[in-house]
Symmetry: C3
Subunit: 444 residues, 3 copies
Amino acid sequence: MKTDDITELQDGENMYQLMKKLYPICRSITGNGVRETLEIIQELIPLQTVEVSTGTKVFDWEVPKEWNIRDAYIMDEKGNKIVDFKENNLHVVSYSIPVDKEVTLEELQEHLFSLEDQPDAIPYITSYYKERWGFCITHNQRQELSEGKYRVYIDSELKNGSLTYGELIIPGQTDKEIFLSTYICHPSMANNELSGPVLTTYLAKWILSQPREYTYRIVFIPETIGSITYLSRNYKTMKENIVAGYNISCVGDERAYSYLPSRDGNTLSDRAALNVLQQNYPDFIRYSFLDRGSDERQYCSPGIDLPVASIMRTKYGQYPEYHTSLDNLELVTANGLQGCIDIYKECIQLLEKNNKYKINCLGEPQLGKRGLYPTLSTKESGKIVRDMMNFIAYADGQNDLIDISNIINVPVKNLYSIIEKLQQNKLLSEVNQKEIIGGQTSAR
Amino acid sequence: MKTDDITELQDGENMYQLMKKLYPICRSITGNGVRETLEIIQELIPLQTVEVSTGTKVFDWEVPKEWNIRDAYIMDEKGNKIVDFKENNLHVVSYSIPVDKEVTLEELQEHLFSLEDQPDAIPYITSYYKERWGFCITHNQRQELSEGKYRVYIDSELKNGSLTYGELIIPGQTDKEIFLSTYICHPSMANNELSGPVLTTYLAKWILSQPREYTYRIVFIPETIGSITYLSRNYKTMKENIVAGYNISCVGDERAYSYLPSRDGNTLSDRAALNVLQQNYPDFIRYSFLDRGSDERQYCSPGIDLPVASIMRTKYGQYPEYHTSLDNLELVTANGLQGCIDIYKECIQLLEKNNKYKINCLGEPQLGKRGLYPTLSTKESGKIVRDMMNFIAYADGQNDLIDISNIINVPVKNLYSIIEKLQQNKLLSEVNQKEIIGGQTSAR
Amino acid sequence: MKTDDITELQDGENMYQLMKKLYPICRSITGNGVRETLEIIQELIPLQTVEVSTGTKVFDWEVPKEWNIRDAYIMDEKGNKIVDFKENNLHVVSYSIPVDKEVTLEELQEHLFSLEDQPDAIPYITSYYKERWGFCITHNQRQELSEGKYRVYIDSELKNGSLTYGELIIPGQTDKEIFLSTYICHPSMANNELSGPVLTTYLAKWILSQPREYTYRIVFIPETIGSITYLSRNYKTMKENIVAGYNISCVGDERAYSYLPSRDGNTLSDRAALNVLQQNYPDFIRYSFLDRGSDERQYCSPGIDLPVASIMRTKYGQYPEYHTSLDNLELVTANGLQGCIDIYKECIQLLEKNNKYKINCLGEPQLGKRGLYPTLSTKESGKIVRDMMNFIAYADGQNDLIDISNIINVPVKNLYSIIEKLQQNKLLSEVNQKEIIGGQTSAR
């Protein structure tokens, strides 16, 4: 892959436009919102969709009933819809069962959710595994509710159906895989979570356009039940082939870069992410696996143990708008998305190039006769070829590119041209790491 | 063993009463003082006593002559006993040979020991391996001695006999052992050392009352020569079976908690002690093995290499009253003893429960269907089951309980109920560490 | 080797006198200056000289043409030699081709080298691999040059010949080797570099006078091309036999002690150097291998991987006089050289004695019966034999002398007498490390 592609592309605006298109759809862990979302993404990348029937056993879980909703509101005695699902789909507790009755304010209160300390925000509430109904409103509105009768109406359906996910396998020259996962189960929220699917869509589009060695496995799934479902059907192949992976979530605001490790903490995914973040944004926030909260919980669970880390902007749970109506299209920006897709592209580029390199001669090579060294030795000239000499000193067939970059403290993107020059001069060999990972013979 | 036993028991007062009973006895590394001490302890726990004859070769050493003393004093010209062994047995240098003669003050001075910088304290002095006689007095008293004749009288006996120690083997379900050692060779001093034997007595009593998997080997020995003697007779079995052990000394004052590692520094004994101290008293004092000074010198010597660490209150050599008459029954308290026995009980409980645990399913288990998870997902609900989820995330069959507690930063006592719940739900297996330690098949 | 030899010798003055003798000679990477230098050194130690013909392939390089120079000057229109090689051999760019012509000031300027920010210094410039001619002058002088004609005259010769180096193999009781390398290619400069050859000469003289177990391989070579040439002829034997080595350079001023690691960073050479420096000069400067700049570049290159570190005074490139005429006989002192040879002697002594030691008994030995322990135990007596007891505690057959010194924080020179006493008492065995290094059977 070519370095300059990274800066050439201006995906930020495209990603933001896609997010605007997907934003109004009411997604949940199952149902037509997910299908509609995947259809729009399929206009950009050749995603396959898979349906898994309600009741299917998936590890310790089973695929739940499918939930769909058409309308919902709370109407006051005067016939005003004081809360309307059509205005904001966060108003209904996700997976609410149907209801259509008159209730007193007291009865209504038991089904209302609001945030006292964020009185302007509608909270995002789900109840996937216990059947109930409920509405989410701002605390300000709740305070103003007067005694009286209210009609509560939810036109939803909870019945046997299926769970839907999207999958894209982009073949490479080896069957060793890089894995990308994002989730498409959140209704109208932006950083968490539409930023993940839109970034992943454009990252997939970019990968499709590039020469590549690795195969890429990219999934758009509902969180938790989706990753469990996907793993239960694919984990043996995944454990055999995946060498690095990322869970892509919360990648759209501009306030921070952050990193959440795999459980192991020192996988290839972690090493690449840390190298790239350290070089580009040394003040990035470094979380512990104890701070996890997304599908790395499944991917890194005991016995699965996949190398899945996360590079994020502001992490879920770490910003005030999280899981409320305030996590909206103003919080996420084209810039925010662009910054994060660039980091992911750098990581993928690094993973593609992360061989163990070995210098072909004993002793230092004579760079001078190849025009790679200044001919006049002066007090200053030593520094000029220092990066190249340092690369050579550590190109011992044991260190991979990430190791060398870390040891000599030179960004990998500055090393690509050095590698190219040395290879052109037949001074450098690749000790092919990709084929030996996991002890498997690859197709290359 | 049940957690609540620890807080139910109030051993502190019992231990203090035992100490008061043992305090007046004149102990040394051999002799009737040791026997009398062990007899009193035998009223509480079924200790076996062993006699090893003078002259027996024990590693590089041999068992010394047995020493007993009946009386001793210094009498002035007027017939006043100005120094009287019956008032304080520290007045006589331990292992003093008999003497009965008149001496000048000048001659007397050569046999007197006092502390210039602690003029009120009688020092504790021993001369096990060179035959001499001597008296220990306060420096204040020494300053007031007038010229004249003094009668020095020591009615002691140094002759072939035996070295006495106590041993208690409490069988468990495996022949793998936890080892506890304390010493009973110090005359009337309290923190160093009667606190060790009295705490060990009540700890043994508690172990006897508990269900247990490990076998316990508990010894009451004279320091140094006792541990060398005991090791020379038992070290092969000990090396084969002991998985953890503690040398119990200086466990009675209230000024500090401290820890002295095994020579290795990372044995099971060290890991358990550090985990429990860190959780309960994070400001405990952490010594180096270079600060050692008790029987870990023998237990951790090259070729013996037993995993023996120490949890102490204020360590020997680290308090002004150490090895003087000021280390008395006012320095040690029921509270001080109670605090330290509680820590030892927690350690033993942890050692008993310290398996490697493995979650039985792939992916996270569905806690909700088992009533282990809140059914309504709110912004806050994630934190509620965090400890359980973190335990599960690291229960990979590789980490033992201490590892998990350290990684997720949750006290082990909070994890016992989580383990119980998960086991009740058949979600958790024990990877049985106890049977595989040392590669031996145990009796379980 | 005996400890007290170190302080007995006063080599500093001798080394300084040798440096004064060698200083005027015009050395380069080849030529008669090197031969003359080696001849003078041969008066002190039985160095063999080796000639390697121009054009010989040495790894990726080939031996260059031999360069010799008889005279050189710049003459002004009045016939004054304004720049004269005979006054300072730095005035000519090393490896300058012959020239004898009249040039304008403008033309001359293209062949002049000076340092604007060090206007009093003549810079040291070389052009080994591109044929050119040039003069080096102070910037002050350059500023004063007036328009006009100048005669430039260099009576040099660049033709097929050979590269010369010196080699001394001092046999020991094992064919395992300690390697010392220094370079003799610099013209009239003192710290970098005549300090290295003069110190190495007197270090070799000392080694010859000492009983020894190791074989010593000592080379005086031109930098870079010399080490590449030497390696290309000897690296297989060197890789098989060398257990530790040092590149000796910049060892003559008094401003600092510094250390540059091998590429590996944790070889025996590194461990010995760090131990000795830490004990003697704990404020020594610790460089990274990224700061390298001498023959460790070749010795530690991938595939060669020799354990070669450097102990220096002020390192090349780290002092203002470096590579100028200011690096002269005032910068280097007898004291400076003496301090550094003492450190190298301590290192060699440590390497010779660095066995793994094992105490011969189980449990602590009874030092008392051997007169190694005070017979009267007092509050203070414990400290007296602490060093010996600590040595014994870690003499487990696993730790070598460097490990023990580091763990117990006692200088190795204080441990030699302890080892001797314990050996005299048959309490200590050597686990012979020298024979097992590299898995080779040695001649001992």
